[in-house]
Every structure is written in structure tokens, then in C-alpha cells.
């Protein structure tokens, strides 16, 4: 009798579990591709709000958003929530058609930039309302958006660098507005350390560039001009002439020249020498196809198609430098939060400036402190010196 009851109970449990299974999985799971959620966020952005949008995007650092901006950001909440959800999904595949070469559409980049500027506006509202922890969470969302937008092509990489710079500026503004709080600062330090420095490197973009160009440099002349130079750019007349008269031997020679040039460039990028040396070597390499093309026709296409890798290296190094500078600033805020005063000198063990491998230049000011990184062009490099305010409780 007892065993009969036990068997009955066991069967009932099994049947209940079987019945419950389909109910739990009645709806599809949430997307595991962040790009799908970002695309939904783009669709959710309000329309015909250009003037307010300009106000949000032009809001000066530290300024208090007015009612119009606040109302507009309320309208944008569906898009912002989707972006936050997207930032929490690790994988991000934008579904780009690399087979299209230079005709590949990158429209999503302009939408992502607009979304990023909205998020920065949202941070400004949260800071003005004293919600510093939420503001920093939004900053981390922005930072993750910068990581997600970087893809296996140079332009996406650059837009990722630009969005990351927005995130760092937003963090700087938030730190300057909030009283130094140990718990929040330790949490922020941990989050920055945990998120990867880079999802994609420059050489990934260059590798894609190489494959696209080697595929497109063929006698399929009909689409070559438009495909390799972009539909809106002016095509150099000498390039047009060469392509009109080109035969397979020309393209074969062009492909060989391009491959050799790219191999030389990547070798310099991968070398362990300091930034300045690599930059100088890349500058020389950038000029070489142009000067070679005067006597070697096979260098003409490389001279027209190849981006300046020296510039790419500078932009990448600048982004890494800003990242380290921000981490150094957080350490100084932590000293202030723990001891009650800003240090007179830069504490030891700080992250270094990747431009020269040295400490950032540190100065105390009446309102806080400044940190300055290396730059080769102070006139054009606007953010090489960052000012951090320290709010007194």
C-alpha cells in the first residue's frame, strides 16, 4: 500500500513537471544579439524633433538641462531602455554585408551616434538631479555601446573610438559634479577594469580592408570605380584613365604591390617599439605609394585606396591614453574620499600614458586637479588636458 502511494506521488510529480515545461517556454527568448535591440532603439527614436535634438546634443558640459530637454528625453525613454538592454547582451552582430566591399552600407553608424548623444543628454539630466550612481551606469552603457559598434572594418572602429570618448567625457562630468564617495568610486573602478579595453583592434580593420581590396582589384571594371572610391567622392582623373586601360597584368601587379605594402604596415603596428617610432615609420610608409606611383603604375591604386595608418595609430593611442587618464583620475578621487584631501603629487602606481610610457602630468587647482597627456599638436588635439573638479560635501 505504502509503495503504491509512493509510486502514485512520483508519477504525479513527473506529470506535473511535464505539464509545466511547455508553459514556462511558451514565448520565445529575448534576443541574444545586441544589434537587434539597437535597431529597435533606432526605430523608437522620436521623429521631427530636430530642434530639441540639437539642444540636447549641444548641451554644454555641466549645464542644467531645461524643461524642453527633459520632456524630449522622456519621449526617448523607450529607445534608451532598449539601448540599455542591448548593452547588457555580450554578442553584437550588425549583419554587415562585407561581400559588397566598398558599397557595404554602414547607415547604422549615424543612428548609433545619435543614440549615443541622447544617452549623454540623459546623463546630464541624472547628474542635475543628483542621481550620480544612475548617471555613471548610463556612462557605462555608453561605453559598452562604443565597444559594440566597433566591427571588423576601420570606419566602425573609428566610430567606436568616438562614442567611447563621449562616455569618458560623461564620466568626467559626473565625477566633477558628485561628492567623492568611496563605495561608488570603488564600484566604478571595478566596472572599468572588468570591461574589455577593446573588442576590435586596428589590425582587424586593416585585415578586412586588405581582403576587400584584393577581391575588388580585378578586370570587372564596371563596378570597380564606384566600389573602391565611394559613390560621392571625386574620382582622380589619372585613376580613371588607368582603370579604363587596365588589363589583368595591371591588376595582378596592383594586388602584389598592395599586399606588400599592407604587410609592411601591419609589421610596424605589431612591433613593440614606442609610439613615436612606430608613428614616424608609418608616416614614411603612408607616403611611399604616392611617390612610387610616379614611376610604378602598380602603386597607383594603393596610393588612392590606402587610408593613413599613422593617423589610425594616433587615434587609437589617444583613446587608450584617455582611458588610462580616467582611471588615474578615479584613483585621485579615491584618495580624496579616503583622506579628505587631494594629493599634492600623483600617487605611485598610476596607469601610464601609452604615448610615451610615462606618468600623466598632474596639477592641483583651486577647484580640483588637471591631468595632461602627451600630444604632438596642442592646437588640434583639444582634449589632451582634462580638468576634474572635486565637489565639497
Amino acid at each position: 500500500m505504502k509503495s503504491h502511494n509512493q509510486n502514485t506521488r512520483t508519477i504525479c510529480v513527473i506529470l506535473t513537471l511535464l505539464a509545466a515545461g511547455p508553459v514556462v517556454q511558451a514565448y520565445p527568448p529575448d534576443p541574444n544579439n545586441a544589434a537587434l535591440l539597437y535597431y529597435q532603439a533606432f526605430i523608437s527614436l522620436p521623429k521631427d524633433q530636430d530642434q530639441v535634438q540639437d539642444l540636447v546634443e549641444g548641451l554644454p558640459d555641466g549645464a542644467d538641462p531645461n524643461d524642453q530637454i527633459r520632456e524630449y528625453l522622456k519621449l526617448c525613454q523607450p529607445a534608451i531602455r532598449l539601448a540599455v538592454a542591448a548593452s547588457e547582451v555580450p554578442a553584437c552582430d550588425w549583419g554587415l554585408r562585407y561581400s559588397q566591399g566598398y558599397q557595404m552600407s554602414l547607415t547604422h553608424l549615424s543612428q548609433m551616434r545619435a543614440l549615443a548623444r541622447l544617452m549623454k543628454g540623459e546623463v546630464a539630466v541624472l547628474v542635475a538631479d543628483g542621481q550620480y550612481r544612475q548617471a555613471l551606469e548610463r556612462c557605462l552603457t555608453l561605453r559598452q555601446m562604443g565597444q559594440h559598434i566597433s566591427d571588423q572594418n576601420i570606419i566602425s572602429f573609428l566610430v567606436g573610438v568616438a562614442i567611447n570618448a563621449l562616455a569618458e567625457k560623461a564620466i568626467q562630468n559626473t565625477l566633477s559634479a558628485m561628492p567623492p564617495d568611496i563605495q561608488t568610486l570603488v564600484w566604478l573602478k571595478g566596472e572599468l577594469a572588468a570591461s574589455p579595453a577593446r573588442r576590435v583592434e586596428i589590425k582587424n580593420g586593416l585585415k578586412t580592408e586588405e581582403e576587400v581590396i584584393l577581391t575588388k582589384l580585378t578586370t570587372d571594371r564596371g563596378h570597380l570605380l564606384e566600389a573602391v572610391t565611394g559613390s560621392t567622392g571625386a574620382v582622380p582623373s589619372e585613376l580613371v584613365e588607368h582603370l579604363k586601360n587596365a588589363d589583368e597584368a595591371f591588376f595582378e601587379g596592383s594586388r602584389r604591390y598592395f599586399k606588400a605594402h599592407m604587410d609592411a604596415v601591419v609589421a610596424v603596428l605589431n612591433s613593440p617599439v614606442p609610439y613615436l617610432q612606430r608613428h614616424d615609420q608609418l608616416e614614411q610608409l603612408d607616403k611611399r605609394p604616392g611617390s612610387d606611383s610616379k614611376q610604378n603604375l602598380h602603386a597607383v591604386l594603393t596610393a588612392s585606396l590606402m587610408p593613413s595608418v599613422a593617423k589610425l595609430l594616433t587615434l587609437d593611442t589617444r583613446a587608450r591614453s584617455n582611458d588610462n587618464l580616467l582611471k588615474a583620475a578615479i584613483e585621485i578621487y579615491l584618495v580624496k574620499a579616503r583622506t579628505g584631501s587631494i594629493p599634492d603629487q600623483l600617487p605611485p602606481g598610476m596607469p601610464k600614458d601609452p604615448f610615451n610610457g610615462q606618468d600623466f602630468k598632474y596639477e592641483k587647482t583651486p577647484e580640483g586637479f588637471t591631468l595632461t597627456r602627451w600630444t604632438d599638436d596642442p592646437a588640434k588635439d583639444k582634449n589632451f588636458q582634462r580638468t576634474f573638479k572635486v565637489k565639497v560635501r
Binding site: F42, I43, S44, L45, P46, K47, D48, Q49, D50, Q100, G101, Y102, Q103, M104, S105, L106, T107, L109, S110, Q111, R113, A114, N153, I154, I155, L158, V159, V161, A162, V212, E226, A227, V228, T229, G230, S231, T232, G233, P307, S308, K311, L315
Partner: protein, 135 residues
Amino acid sequence: MKPDRIEQLIRTIRVRSTPGKRQERLDDILAAHDRWRQSHTTSGRGFPRWVAKVAIAASVLIVVTYQAVMYRSPDRIVPRQPQTRAVPSSAEITTAGSLQMAFRQGGLEGVERQLDRAFELIGAWPTVLHEQGLL
């Protein structure tokens, strides 16, 4: 003289003339007639001079009025201008090649400007889709 008397006179009268003199006289009469006509008309069509003047004045007035009206009218039909390059669309300026060109010419700032321009062109997506628009 009464008409019946003139008729009788013509039936009975005998005119003595020579063919040469008759032809000369006819030529004289025709030449006099032509001179008279030219002094009283502006053209060979037989219209009086004042009619021609009025016609010319009216034509000038019509032409001037037409020009004035047509140049001021917003609905005028103008000759088709030669086709110039259309403003590029958002899709055209956000291809990989176009953005690469922007980077080569203007660096990262050039890329950002072009992306901002693309966003202005496409705007945001509509938030409301009306039933009529879907059908």
C-alpha cells in the same frame, strides 16, 4: 445725262483709235492707279495705313504683356535645365567607400560630419503608422 441716253451713245458712237495709243493710255491709267494706291496704303494687301499702325501697336502690347505675365507667374513652364548632380542620399554617403573617402579627406572629424549629415537626411523612423499607410 440719263443712263438710257448714255447707253444709246455708247452703242452708236464710233471711237477712232490706234492699238498702240490704246495700250499707252491703258498703261498710263494703270500707273496712275498704282500710285494712288501706294499713297493710301502701307502694304500691298490693301489695308489702310492706320489699320496697320494699330495692328503693330497691338502686337507690341500683346508681346510685352505676355512677357510680363509669364516671368512673374510661379506656374510658368520653364525650359528643362540641364540635369545637374543630385544631392547624394543618406544611403550613398554611408557606404564604406564614401566614409573611407571622408576619413582620407577630413580624418575622424570628416567621418563624424558625414554621419551627422546622413542622420539629418534620414531623420528618425516614424513612430506612428496609420492604417491607410499600411494598406
